[in-house]
């Protein structure tokens, strides 16, 4: 029994939280974009440029805040390119997304190599150029409390600012999308842009807004990878997290609170895959790590196949809007 409980021990849960945070940010980014009818498989590329520029600027200026700005800015530049290609020029959104991923993978390494000459990575960031765990007043007293102390101190409080930003983004996204006029219009643009246009609302503007918000969130996600979890950029360091976030988005059926659940679940699966010893103790046999790595995708396919409820994407998703003439 205790072996099973160990699967949910504090270090594993903390690890899930850290691994789930970039997924959550990227997932919400995709949510905004896709709810407005713009498919975005370029989440990965946007996170990657953000990771690079946040690390490079944080290293050069020794200010993590400038790094964050640079990360968000770089990600937004790619978001605008995606917007231009898929909204203004009505290109294929999937192809534009793929192009952005390739562009980001090549560009980051190229710039890093010419800039720092360290084999396509940035130098390690010093302590002051990183997002460190926030220091809550009285943290030591809290940690000393029995039972709840370690949980509060390590699991709830012992994180850096961007983790809280990610979690605060969930209710915020929910509120924006479902309680504001802007959110209603944004969702409508993803379902039936012609109707929105008929009502005299600017479809193109709304879609650009969605794509830009997506850029901001991807920027934070990339910055989190490079300046909070890590101390610098390494080539291809996003390692497919943008795609897992997309899977989480489908798994969450394009809903913010579900997205939180999906990302925490996927984060947990990644975290438990790092502890084969606990899995073996709990189940009594060796569990293949590859199985756990594949599980997010398997679950997504199950959802898509309609076994557990139906996942219906925004109706106008993937289609450029053309005014009737």
């Amino acid at each position: 029994m205790i072996e099973f409980l160990n699967l949910f021990s504090l270090p594993v849960l903390e690890s899930s939280l850290r691994l789930g945070t970039p997924l959550l940010l990227a997932c919400l980014a995709g949510l905004f974009s896709e709810r407005a009818g713009i498919f975005d498989i370029g989440l990965e590329g946007k996170m990657l440029v953000a990771a690079f520029f946040s690390a490079a600027i944080a290293y050069s200026t020794e200010s993590v805040w400038l790094g964050l700005l640079a990360g968000i800015g770089a990600s937004m530049v790619l978001a605008v390119i995606h917007g231009l290609a898929s909204i203004t020029f009505r290109g294929n959104q999937l192809i534009s997304g793929v192009a952005i991923n390739f562009l980001a993978a090549g560009l980051t390494v190229l710039i890093a190599q010419t800039w720092f000459k360290q084999g396509g990575r940035t130098p390690s960031l010093p302590e002051e150029a990183r997002f460190n765990a926030l220091e809550f007043p009285g943290l030591d007293t809290i940690a000393a409390m029995p039972v709840v102390g370690p949980v509060l101190a390590n699991l709830i409080l012992g994180h850096d600012l961007l983790v809280y930003v990610a979690f605060a983004a969930v209710p915020l996204t929910w509120w924006i999308l479902f309680s504001t006029r802007f959110g209603l219009r944004l969702r409508a643009v993803g379902e039936n842009p012609a109707a929105v246009d008929t009502a005299g609302i600017n479809v193109v503007f709304l879609r650009y807004m969605a794509v830009l918000i997506c850029g901001v969130l991807c920027g934070i996600a990339g910055t989190y990878l490079a300046t909070a979890l890590q101390a610098g950029f390494v080539k291809d360091m996003t390692a497919g997290r943008g795609y897992i976030a997309l899977a989480a988005l489908i798994f969450a059926k394009w809903r913010p609170w579900y997205a939180l659940g999906a990302c925490l679940l996927f984060g947990y699966l990644q975290a438990i895959a790092l502890r084969p010893d606990l899995l073996e103790a709990a189940f009594g046999f060796k569990v293949q790590v590859q199985l756990l790595d594949a599980l997010p995708y398997v679950l997504t396919v199950v959802i898509l196949a309609g076994f557990v409820g139906k996942a219906i994407p925004p109706r106008a998703g993937g289609e450029p809007y053309v005014k009737e003439r």
Binding site: L19, G119, D236, A239, D293
Partner: protein, 331 residues
């Protein structure tokens, strides 16, 4: 060596007066470029050392894409470069194609075996270097648990892990060795975030020395080890400088020595297998100003003692790739 160099330069003079073209050696760097702070840069340093010591010159190219491998090889061979050295296992299939077309040109490939009469295949005894790293880890560990993080789960990386575990168990039979691989796809070489989480997971299992043989993922491992206050061990190049005083040592693959050796032999390059082990300074552990404070005298004498025994043949470190099994570690 100097005698040989003199002989060679004498031969050069003769060749020139005879009107024949003196073949310049050439070196091809793999993707990543010659200033990658790792494999390629090490190869470049070896070539530069040769050039400085002999006054010779060499031709070089930095590959920009996979498609250029065969093209670069053929171009140098057509231009009469000899020998042609290539840094990296990825040249294997290209060289297999090209080698037979230029029987008079000598090739040296590092980290890969290509079976052709005019090819020197340089391989490293990584298990021997890792064995020494394992001894140092077990000596430095206070918890009695040391760990290993590999990149992609391939036999070569298991060879590192296996050597490390054998060394650790030799220094302290009661030591616990934890080994994790980052993944099973090439993405595992560049996932520092996962490297960090693996390090934290191993720390929660009691490890206080972690050895990373994982490419870019290792950057995350070394960083987290430094952040969490445990020791780490770098790989391939000397990575001690990354976190001075917190990287116990680095397991060195002396690619520079391999390149230097190949260039020194010139056109008379000895072909066939060329094993770079402890005996011919092909592998080793790094000691410099960055880690002198954390390496104890006792640790050093034990490590050097083992190195001597390996060289003399008293200790044989089991090579995982010889039979795909490891006596000291379960995968």
């Amino acid at each position: 060596m100097t005698v040989m160099t003199k002989l060679m330069s004498a031969a050069t003079g003769l060749a020139l007066t005879a009107g024949a073209a003196w073949a310049e050696p050439a070196i091809i760097f793999d993707l990543g470029g010659k200033f990658d702070k790792s494999f390629n840069e090490s190869a470049f340093n070896g070539a530069t050392r040769w050039a400085e010591e002999t006054g010779g010159t060499f031709r070089e190219i930095e590959l920009q894409s996979d498609a250029q491998r065969e093209q670069a090889l053929r171009r140098f061979a057509e231009a009469g470069a000899n020998p042609i050295v290539m840094a990296g296992f990825a040249f294997g299939s290209a060289l297999e194609e090209v080698a037979a077309d230029y029987p008079d040109t000598k090739f040296a490939i590092i980290d890969m075996v290509v079976d052709a009469p005019n090819v020197r295949s340089v391989v490293f005894n990584e298990h021997e270097g890792s064995y020494l790293a394992g001894i140092m880890a077990a000596e430095a560990s206070e918890t009695g648990t040391v760990s290993f993080i590999g990149g992609m789960d391939i036999p070569l990386i298991r060879k590192f892990a296996c050597g490390y575990a054998q060394g650790a168990k030799a220094a302290n039979p009661d030591v616990t060795v934890i080994a994790n691989m980052t993944g099973t796809t090439p993405a595992a070489w560049n996932d520092p975030v996962k490297g960090s989480e693996l390090t934290k997971a191993q720390i929660s299992q009691g490890s206080d020395v972690v050895y990373a043989a994982a490419g870019g993922t290792g950057v995350g491992v070394l960083q987290t080890a430094a952040d969490e206050g445990i020791l780490s061990i770098g790989v391939d190049a000397n990575q001690n400088y990354l976190h001075p005083g917190q990287v116990l040592t680095s397991m060195l693959k002396r690619v520079d020595n391999a390149v230097y050796d190949a260039l020194s032999q010139g056109e008379d390059l000895e072909t066939g297998f060329n094993v770079m082990g402890l005996a011919n300074r092909g592998v080793g552990v790094a000691l410099d100003a960055n880690n002198e404070g954390i390496v104890s005298y006792a640790m050093l004498s034990k490590t050097f003692g083992a190195a001597d025994q390996i060289v003399s043949g008293e200790i044989t470190v089991h090579d995982y790739m010889s039979d795909e099994s490891c006596p000291a570690l379960d995968f």
